[in-house]
Amino acid sequence: MGPAVLLLLLALAISGCENAASSAVGPAHSPSTATSAPAGTNPASDTTGDWVRPARDYSSTRFSPLDEINTGNVKQLVVKTTFSTGVLHGHEAAPIVASNTMYIVTPYPNLVYALDLSKDGAPVKWKYEPKTLAAAQGVACCDVVNRGVTYADGTIFLNTLDNRTIALDAFTGKEKWASKLGDLNKGETITMAPLVVKDKVLVGNSGGEMGVRGWLIALDARTGNVAWRAYSTGPDKDVLIGPRFKPFYASDRGTDLGIHTWPADAWRNGGGTVWGWISYDPQLNLVYYGTSNPGPWHHEQRPGDNKWTAGVFARDADSGEAVWFYQMSPHDLWDYDGVNEQVLADLPLGDGTRKVMMRADRDGYLYVIDRTSGEVISADPYVAVTSTKGIDLKSGRPIENESLRPSLGQVVRNVCPASPGGKDWQPTAYSTRTGLLYIPANNLCMDFEGVEANYIAGTPFVGANVRMYAGPGGNRGEFIAWDPVARRKVWSIKESFPVWSGVAVTASDVAFYGTMDGWFKAVNAKTGEELWKSKVGSGIVGQPVTYRGPDGKQYVAVLAGVGGWSGAIVAGGLDPRDGTAALGFVNALPDLPQATTSGGMLYIFGLP
């Protein structure tokens, strides 16, 4: 999808901004259906410099048409402003920029700050405290994170860890409405960033490992009332599966598979939560999102495909009806959530152009999927993979590596990728100019050995001892540029720690990402050459953005503040001697506490 289309989408998304500017940059893979956005005449209504949602556009490209900061001058970048959030824990959110204001949300307690970019030093315009319940902290699995707020139509939409979606007046910070969607008592939390599509706010829950039943809810953006809710397990009527549902593969066809692919009532606690990313194709009027792993049973206790977990749904954006589903990991064995982002693009494949989504999945494969039908066009490993032997394109199913099938008490070694996957939630970026997908990747494998006893709510229980460690090469992370048409890695940069930050890429072919030991980096998007880096106060697990300030200049912003599942050893103060802590992640990163300390801080960079 070209920038012109992106601009159009942006213009549609932000009402009151009828005149979106057009900047025709020649895309490498120009979509045949691209229409020109209306030419902008009034600079005040030019929103091309904004970044109104974490993924920037509905296609989730995280591509900015700005090009003032380029491969030549990026090395001159300096810190323009900093701002301490006053919160520890993992800062995974993207700073949001609209109407000369920057909006940031912290991990629990989910404070929202609006910073006035038109004034020197970006002072706080307003601050909102949602008074998130403290009990939510004991429920969230993998640090008390929040992946960002969303701006639309003069409103900031915020999700809180204690299951509320709150609409705030973007200018004053006053609450317009608040809607409670889930229940901490059931193990539910919300960590994802909402997506606003037309008149609806889409929100999903977290907590698959707590025996939560996953859902996606559409709220009326004006009132906060629930318009529809689509569960990820259970009877077809709950999953909003009806006559329009036409999955591409046979194993997804049948009645009430959300019940019949589970033992007894296991679907009631089956997982399939929706804690990742949502994309939207306005022409097809479809929203796309992935579902988490099945749980919380050991896989031997839930025979079957465990629909509709660890897969991706296409739904009608208005009614929520399911249109197709594809399951990356039927009967998931390894905690390979399917929640990673869908990057929508129109790629030249075969004889023509195909409307696809690109998914760098937890299972280690880069899927190129026809987003009109759910057909997998290609699926290639982008990291070391041993857990499966490939994806059978006829059935759409992974070819299991039987020798690694885990059973409690059995020793299973060298499972790659480890549970956080080739990539976890940390989103990729796609440049229509280079035609490359930029993947912030993990290079981790894991062993299951012995039995570890644990205790919760007065009850002892046991699970496998999981230890993660660096995959082949010894580096635990990698920043990869991938060509989805040629189906190959074009270049990559090895990183000592997993790359747990998002990516932003610009029309001047500069890609930005951060590292867990606190380096913020700019690289040449064509070659991978490192152009600039700056050390920040804490490890970066957030999402960089770039925007045009009120002065007309381009800036780059990112939240530092290590944490999340990978950074729990620092943010949670875990003991590095207990390698199985944080579900085995601590073993892979015992040196992280020496490399960084916790603390949330916003950094804004610009040219001198």
Binding site: G211, E300, Q301, G458, F461, G463
Partner: protein
């Protein structure tokens, strides 16, 4: 599970005991809503044992309340908002456990009127009966009975009940026991202390039988030794607990029996759970 190696140093203990006696409140980390273990009204057996210890010391118990879930130890004991945890399996990594003061077991819970007499995971009846197990909520980690059943291919007729329960209610984890009484399931395989306590409070008589085998396969224990715990290197308090457990063994046993805690470390078993009405 291997018991913590215990060295008693009498003179140090005597000193510690007198130093701490009356000096400060006994700061206990506990869940405010987790009967039969603890609750905010002090009705759990761990509450009772803590009170007994405080009385011995001429002081009072001061609680730090925190749901015993993910982050419990991190936010209480490790954060030094309290000093003692009254119940943890021995050798728990994140704390320093004492010698165990009781050892309990997973049990089968059935309605007495059914005459099922299930004692072993190998009982063929388990292939067809509806079985309730506790759902822990941690991917791939489950209670030992859940694993023992799945090892035998018994999965389709197994129903999970969240170990957290509904925290808004009084006794969150009791749903699985009520499910036996209410005929939602034919049998529950549940952790003994919880099962014993709630079985005695159902409107119909329930039978409680320790599961067999007690170590399933080579590695799957169904019994656990429960100890008190302090922070590592909190030597004085640790010795205090050790001495208390030794001195008050009989009183502790009496309290546990009152709560119908099934024991596997005593000749005498707990009084059978009787229907109270």
């Amino acid at each position: 599970m291997r018991p913590v190696f215990f060295v008693s140093v009498a003179c140090v203990v005597a000193l510690a005991w007198s130093d701490l006696r009356g000096a400060e409140a006994l700061r206990v980390c506990a869940d405010p809503n987790n009967l039969p273990f603890t609750n905010a009204k002090g009705e759990g057996f761990e509450n009772r044992i803590a009170t007994l210890m405080a009385r011995d010391l001429g002081t009072r118990v001061e609680y730090t309340w925190f749901a015993q879930r993910r982050g419990f130890l991190r936010n209480t004991l490790s954060a030094q908002t309290c000093d003692i945890v009254m119940g943890l399996p021995v050798d728990t990594d994140a704390a320093w456990t004492t010698q165990p003061y009781y050892r309990s077991t997973y049990v089968f819970v059935t309605r007495r009127s059914r005459n099922l007499h299930i004692r072993s995971f190998d009982d063929p009846q388990l292939r067809s009966l509806r079985i309730g197990v506790e759902l822990v909520g941690d991917d791939n980690a489950n209670t030992p009975p859940a694993h023992a059943l799945s090892r035998r291919g018994i999965v389709r007729n197994v129903v999970g009940y969240s170990v957290y329960g509904d925290y808004r209610t009084d006794s969150p984890p009791s749903a699985i026991i009520a499910a036996v009484a209410h005929r939602e399931v034919d049998v529950a395989a549940a952790w003994g202390p919880m099962a014993g306590y709630f079985a005695a409070r159902q409107p119909v008589p329930l039978d409680i039988v320790p599961v067999q085998p007690q170590v399933d396969g080579r590695f799957l224990p169904q019994t656990f030794s429960i100890a008190m715990a302090t922070r590592r290197r909190d030597n004085a308090r640790h010795e205090l607990l050790e001495q208390f457990i030794k001195r008050r063994r009989h009183d502790i046993d009496r309290i546990l029996a009152e709560y119908h805690v099934p024991r596997v470390d005593r000749e005498q078993t707990a009084p059978p759970a009787e229907g109270t009405r």
